[in-house]
């Protein structure tokens, strides 16, 4: 009897706690969606009902922000960074795992150490380098330093351990060259690894803030993340417009998460495998 009561109390506490945490996790999303339909004053006063200002907010957003250009900038940077990072890192991950050479392990350890380098210690030299190369205010300057990523190389090497060596041997017997084995056998076989890495790298690039903030100074080159930040830091921010912006900026990553949840989580966990 007593035991039963404790168990019921335990169940109530469990559901209460988990439910509360789930609610708190979702709440800001709800607030963002409702916020887009309300006027700035109502949002700041904490109104939690659908309002009638959605059309006005969207219209204001599109007059204040050159939305197509801003999204094109974000997409261009994210896609370019992702494709190049995946290409370079998968080549290296495969190379480190498959080929042996005298200093391989030492170089690989040194490479992993670079994961620990904080970006704050790189930004001043990188800024000077980009200035000297005449690349300030270009998307190239945003993408370039992000392509070489020890983390993504590590991720590819870890997953390459599962790549069957029989496939390589068979391909060699058939007379394929090394680059052909990589391109025609490794890449298709490892496509789920590529998918998971794609999600993580794309998200990082799409959401990147500090480096673009430094390098992109003109309005024509700015990304959606920079635009939201500057909209929200105005002296009197129009929160309805800010909400429209955050929804639009979050939509791509949210969509990727819902349609590719398994690869998404796999990518997140990549580092502990």
């Amino acid at each position: 009897m007593n035991n039963g009561t404790t168990r019921i109390a335990g169940t109530i506490v469990t559901y209460g706690f988990v439910g509360l945490m789930a609610f708190l996790s979702i709440f800001p999303f709800l607030w963002m969606l409702l916020g887009a339909t309300n006027s700035s004053i109502d949002i700041i006063k904490g109104r939690m009902m659908p309002g009638s200002a959605l059309a006005t907010n969207i219209a204001t957003f599109f007059t204040q922000v050159n939305a197509p250009l801003v999204f094109w900038n974000s997409a261009k940077i994210a896609i370019l960074a992702t494709v190049l990072t995946l290409a370079v890192s998968s080549l290296a991950g495969y190379g480190f795992e498959v080929f042996r050479s005298r200093h391989r392990d030492r170089i690989y350890s040194a490479l992993l150490l670079t994961m620990m380098i904080p970006f704050a210690a790189l930004m001043i030299p990188l800024f000077i380098m980009m200035g000297k190369a005449g690349l300030i205010n270009t998307h190239f300057a945003v993408v370039l330093p992000t392509i070489g990523s020890a983390f993504v190389v590590f991720y590819f090497r870890q997953t390459t351990k599962a790549f069957p060596s029989e496939l390589r041997d068979a391909a060699k017997v058939d007379g394929l060259k090394e680059w052909q084995i990589f391109l025609y056998i490794y890449v298709p076989v490892m496509r789920s690894t590529y998918a998971a890495a794609f999600i993580i790298v794309f998200m990082t690039a799409w959401n990147n803030y500090l480096w673009p903030l430094i390098v992109l100074q003109s309005n024509e080159t700015k990304t959606i993340t920079l635009v939201i930040s500057s909209l929200a830091s105005a002296y009197y921010p129009d929160y309805g417009v800010v909400m429209v912006g955050t929804i639009l900026a979050t939509l791509p990553t949210l969509a990727v998460f819902f349609f590719m949840q398994r690869q998404f989580v796999q990518g997140m966990l990549g580092s502990v495998k």
């Binding site: 335990g10 469990t14 988990v18 945490m21 789930a22 609610f23 996790s25 800001p28 999303f29 607030w31 700041i44 006063k45 904490g46 939690m48 370079v88 890192s89 290296a92 190379g95 480190f96 498959v98 080929f99 050479s101 005298r102 170089i107 670079t114 620990m116 904080p118 970006f119 704050a120 210690a121 790189l122 930004m123 001043i124 030299p125 990188l126 800024f127 000077i128 380098m129 392509i147 070489g148 990523s149 090394e178 990589f182 803030y209 500090l210 993340t225 939201i228 930040s229 929200a232 830091s233 800010v242 955050t246 979050t250 990553t253 998460f257 949840q261 997140m268 966990l269 580092s271 502990v272």
Partner: protein, 299 residues
């Protein structure tokens, strides 16, 4: 692979191996190794803009007499000393509750708690800034249910501004850590829990005596990456405080201070590089800690 060590074939293997790894190594050397060495060199120099002169240890001495640096350092340390343990514990409790297959709707709960991870750091900071405004939804709700009598000055009081930063980071990253623990819990033999339950071990003791010891490696890993992340905190504070780290530097972090020294005030690359090396040293210390802890574990 033994063949690889012999003569001609060995060289063939080597050349191919190097070709595959060369682009990544080249890029990392150019955009990480070279800049990190350059900023080390810079930290021993002083001057305005690009007019730098060798200055020995003067930048390091300046650190200890710079109240703003001390403030940024203590803030940064406060963030991770307070925030990381709270978040890790919360994530562990959530993971062990959600690991129970009998829990109805656990798929929904898991997705919901993970959802904050899809937002960009800027987007959620901006949302939090609005939610925690003086008359905002958080204050009005807390007042309505009678927890507080008057609005909490989240953005204008030094203490509450720090609390807000900590709340915000915890919201964004708890689900992320939880996913790591849930994945690790898949590898724990369920029968251990069954036996403990039959022996009358209460749930809390099962959590502290079975779950936590078995998850120690993952807990260590997530603690280190969370700490390293928190040491580098920038986006949240910048966007919650209009780039100022206010009120009166109460939320200023090391990264934000470096940014201000370089791009907002009269640029002083040498001194900014010295501050950035404080972060390098902190991260390196933590990485060593992880390395030794991991070696201890393997023994």
């Amino acid at each position: 692979m033994a063949l690889a060590r012999r003569g001609g074939i060995g060289r063939y293997y080597n050349v191919n191996g190097w070709l595959f790894v060369a682009p990544a190594l080249g890029l990392i050397a150019l955009f990480m190794i070279y800049p990190i060495l350059w900023s080390l060199w810079m930290s021993f120099q002083s001057g305005r803009g690009m007019m730098l002169k060798f200055a020995g240890f003067s930048n390091i001495i300046r650190l200890w007499n710079d109240p703003v640096f001390i403030k940024a350092l203590t803030n940064t340390l406060t963030y991770f000393v307070v925030q990381v343990p709270i978040m890790i514990l919360l994530a562990l409790i959530l993971a062990s509750l959600l690991n129970n297959p009998k829990l109805v709707g656990r798929g929904f709960f898991r997705t919901a708690i993970f959802l904050p991870c899809v937002t960009s750091l800027v987007a959620y900071s901006v949302l939090f800034k609005g939610m925690f405004a003086h008359d905002g939804i958080v204050n009005s709700t807390l007042e309505a249910i009678g927890i507080i009598g008057e609005p909490i000055p989240w953005l204008t009081h030094p203490f509450w501004a720090k609390v807000l930063v900590i709340l915000a980071i915890t919201w964004r990253w708890t689900g992320y850590n939880m996913i790591f623990y849930l994945a690790a819990m898949q590898n724990i033999d369920k029968s251990i829990y069954e036996v403990a339950r039959i022996d009358g071990v209460p749930a809390w003791a099962r959590f502290t005596h079975i779950t936590i010891p078995l998850l120690k490696p993952v807990i260590l890993f997530t603690t280190i990456i969370s700490t390293i992340g928190t040491i580098q905190l920038f986006d949240e504070v910048y966007n919650l405080t209009e780039g100022k780290g206010g009120p009166s530097n109460a939320t200023l972090t090391l990264s934000l201070y470096i940014y201000n020294l370089t791009f907002r005030f009269m640029p002083n690359f040498g001194y900014a590089a010295t501050v950035s090396y404080v972060i390098v040293v902190l991260v390196a210390l933590l990485a060593c800690l992880q390395f030794f802890a991991a070696r201890e574990r393997d023994r």
